[in-house]
């Protein structure tokens, strides 16, 4: 039996039922790998290609919106329907293949087992299967661009009847079928992943790693997996019904109606049913995107403040509270939809209530910084940026949570301003923080700090310049998903501010090339990283860099401490590793 690079005591590991030998051939090692670390990287690189595709689409949107007649090299003039396919595919790719894939599939896969002291995920084959199913979903999604009629134009929310009728517009033919098929496949992949994460967290923790000693990252992946398990099943069902409405003549979402004067041939269905099912998934999805970011921010803020996280238990309960309440608020997307206005009361109160655990988290992050000894490495900059964006994006929530204020604000630019700041950019900042933080462990080399800082400041200022003005546009009544602002007189004065946003977007997108350059160059040319370059406490920093195939080189760590024992009075260093038996911490 071959030993990992870290040592030869693999026999102990081989006794575990899930253990598997380190593979030798290229295909088994890097393509159809069972190793959670390789699978994590596969997810990460899938998300990396997806984020550049999604970002490119958004750039085209911004350019078309303010210069509708512009003729672009290679692409020509963008038509209004093309603009809507950009809207649809940008949202879909970003939500599913970036915000769901990178933080959970990527970093969760790589670091959950290591952080809890396990040699792998509970079900390695299932893990491989969930990645390749995700990959298939991604290919099917991209294929929608290349079929007759192109990609669908119904937005990432795919409201029926627009999404359910082949004749509702260009892209609503085969393109829409591929879109919904891809999402259904993605749901299956996510369900498999969620099962694996939950089982691993519950069953695979090392001795001494009680639930309340888990790093907050593990808690965030765990809660995210539970949300995924409960939410993706519903979206899968909703998607299958939509496919049936589209192709088999059923009428789940379609009432008696016409399109261009032609009877649709459907009757008896309800367009609101789709919205209920979609948002029953869609709102927890917001937390699926942001919870891992919260976990990473907590981990990084504690590490680089050299302080224990403020209120560990409160942080855990807040995440559980967000997870629970996250399933009771979907109706706040539907205040203007025609559902009973009485239910708006309940959804509104629940939504306001979910602000409470979110506020707790913010207070605790500030409490962690308080009296810290803050070191400004790139991961810390992005974690601080995360907190700032989380506050900014979070505080527009209580406007939209009130049905009364939804009357002027719903479906205006205020909504994309809100959710981009919080589940878009803040979540992306979580991914950046995680990348800069764990890069040394994953690739054995350090990233360039100067480039990291340049990337950070351009991205922070750039994203604020893009999304803060969108609030003003929303207040002024600019509807979202308009391909041009030329048709309504009251929108004309808003065009200059829209141009400013487009300029900011061009600069911000360009700054991401600095990140890409830093990432790819450091992978091969960065200075060699030590096993614990940040002097951090959690188990991934106790093992070799990069970790061996079985993570800990033949032994299983034993845990003696909580995850964030920094600056413990009397300890020889300013950090106490979780598996350090010598020092007894105060907690």
């Amino acid at each position: 039996m071959a030993g990992g690079p870290g040592g030869g005591e693999t026999i102990m590991v081989a006794q575990e039922p899930h253990a598997h030998a380190a593979p030798q051939g290229f295909i088994r090692k890097y393509i159809f790998s069972l190793d959670h670390k390789v699978i994590g990287l596969q997810y990460y690189f899938l998300a990396l290609t997806a984020v550049f595709v999604g970002m490119f689409l958004s750039l085209l949107m911004r350019i078309h919106l303010v210069w509708p007649a512009a003729v672009l090299p290679l692409l020509g003039e963008i038509k209004p329907e093309t603009y809507l396919t950009l809207v649809t595919m940008h949202g879909t790719i970003m939500v599913f293949f970036v915000l769901t894939t990178a933080p959970q599939g990527g970093f969760g896969n790589y670091f959950l087992p290591i952080q809890i002291g396990a040699p792998d995920m509970a079900f390695p084959v299932l893990n491989m299967l969930s990645f390749w199913t995700t990959f298939l979903a991604y290919l099917v999604m991209l294929a929608a661009f290349f079929v007759v009629g192109g990609a669908p134009l119904h937005g990432w929310t795919g409201y029926a009847p627009l999404s359910a009728l082949q004749s509702a517009g260009p892209g609503e033919g085969l393109g829409a079928d591929l879109w919904i098929t891809s999402i259904a496949i993605f749901c299956i992949a996510s369900l498999m992943g969620a099962l694996n994460f939950i089982t691993t967290t519950l069953d695979m923790r090392a001795r001494g790693m009680s639930m309340m000693r888990m790093p907050l990252t593990c808690w965030s992946w765990f809660v995210t997996a539970i949300l995924g398990l409960l939410a993706f099943g519903v979206l899968l069902s909703a998607g299958v019904l939509l496919l049936m409405d589209r192709n088999l003549g059923t009428s789940f979402y379609l009432p008696l109606g016409t399109i261009n004067g032609q009877l649709t041939g459907h009757k008896g269905g309800s367009p609101l049913l789709w919205q209920h099912l979609f948002w029953f998934f869609g709102h927890p999805e917001v937390y699926i995107a942001i919870l891992p970011g919260m976990g990473v921010a907590s981990q990084v803020l504690s590490t680089f403040s050299r302080k224990p996280i403020f209120g560990y238990k409160a942080m855990v309960y807040a995440m559980l509270g967000i997870g629970l309440l996250g399933f009771m608020v979907w109706g706040h997307h539907m205040f203007m939809s025609g559902m009973s206005p009485y239910t708006a009361f309940a959804f509104s109160i629940m939504t306001m209530a979910i602000g409470v655990p979110s506020a707790i988290k913010t207070f605790n992050w500030l409490g962690t910084l308080w009296r810290g000894r803050i070191q400004f490495a790139s991961p810390m900059l992005f974690a601080i940026g995360f907190v700032s964006l989380f506050v900014s994006g979070g505080l527009s929530g209580p406007f939209l949570a009130q049905p009364t204020l939804d009357i002027p604000l719903h479906d205006t630019a205020f909504v994309p301003a809100h959710f981009h700041l919080i589940m878009g950019v803040a979540a992306i900042f979580g991914i950046f923080a995680a990348t800069y933080y764990w890069f040394p462990k994953m690739f054995g080399r350090m990233m360039n700090e100067t480039l990291g800082r340049i990337h950070f400041f351009f991205t922070l200022i750039g994203t604020y310049c893009i999304f803060m003005p969108m609030h003003y546009l929303g207040l002024a009544g600019q509807p979202r998903r308009y391909s041009q602002l030329t048709e309504l007189a009251y929108l004309h004065p808003l065009i200059p501010l829209n141009r400013f946003i487009t300029y900011a977007a061009i600069v911000t997108v360009t700054a991401q090339l600095v990140f890409l350059y830093n990432l790819l160059c450091s992978m091969f040319k960065g200075p060699k990283a030590s096993d614990n370059p940040w002097h951090a406490t959690t188990l991934e920093w106790t093992t070799a860099t990069p970790p061996p195939h079985d993570n800990f080189g033949g032994h299983t760590p034993v845990v003696y401490h909580g995850p964030y024992e920094y600056s413990v009075p009397g300890a020889p260093q300013d950090y106490v590793m979780q598996n350090d038996p010598a020092t007894v911490a105060a907690h």
């Binding site: 209004p80 809507l84 809207v87 134009l153 409201y159 009847p161 627009l162 009728l165 509702a168 260009p170 379609l254 008696l256 016409t258 009877l263 649709t264 367009p271 609101l272 403040s305 050299r306 224990p308 996280i309 209120g311 560990y312 203007m336 025609g338 206005p341 009485y342 509104s348 109160i349 506020a359 707790i360 207070f363 605790n364 500030l366 910084l369 308080w370 009296r371 803050i374 070191q375 601080i384 700032s388 506050v391 900014s392 209580p398 406007f399 009130q402 049905p403 009364t404 009357i407 205006t412 922070l460 200022i461 604020y464 207040l475 009544g477 509807p479 501010l497 600056s567 413990v568 105060a586």
Partner: protein, 268 residues
Amino acid sequence: MGLVLLCVIWLITIASTYFFVAKTWWLPAGASAATAVIDHQFAITFVFMGIIFVAAQLALGLFVWKFRDRGSASPAGYSHGNIRLEVIWTVLTAVLFVGLNLAGSQIWAAERFRPADEGATRVEVTGMQFAWYFRYPGPDGKFGLTKAELEDPSAGGEAALGLNPADPASKDDVVTGTMVVPVDRQVEVILRAHDVIHSFFVPSMRFKQDAVPGLAIHMHFTPTQTGDFEIACAELCGLGHYKMHGMLKVVSREEFDKWLAAREAEKQ
């Protein structure tokens, strides 16, 4: 680095807040009875959220600068938190958020629970790709029946709505492409859609409601100023979404009566 971060975070905060406070871009001038209460609720929410926004961002900037690593001379404090503080900020946030919600609930109830007044001007608003049509019931006060089979959008007007000529109540129905209503009298809107979901959005009236195929949604608003107000579609409805607009003309009662009488006369 701490100082640079402080400056950047504070600058972002001050600049963002300035444009809100200066109202450089703001809600369009309102011209309906609901404007005052909705805008007031917005203002209250804005003040509270604005204070939290500024306080949290300034604190964040201040902390990262004040507690920056200054070498071994500044050891970090060792603390796992403070339960009393956790309780205080949890309770305060809960009271604030739920309180804000309750403060706004009266307005929502008035706008959406109560049916329209007896004497309201009744207008049926129908959305279809990519136009709005407005129908008045005529002297008989009854909307004639429509049939999906008869809908012909290319013909426009009554034909677009699929008005059924066999129904006597349809004879005096007036169908227009512009919505005309009298000032200072409640308007009852009956919202319908033929094909996909549209959303009837009149920013100046502080009015928005989706029009959903298969549903007839009853809503109301009261214009308080005369003038022309743009109608937008606020729900993605297809490639022409951005140009699906209409016009709401609010006129004096006399003008409205004259206008409606003229339209009805044309029908005879």
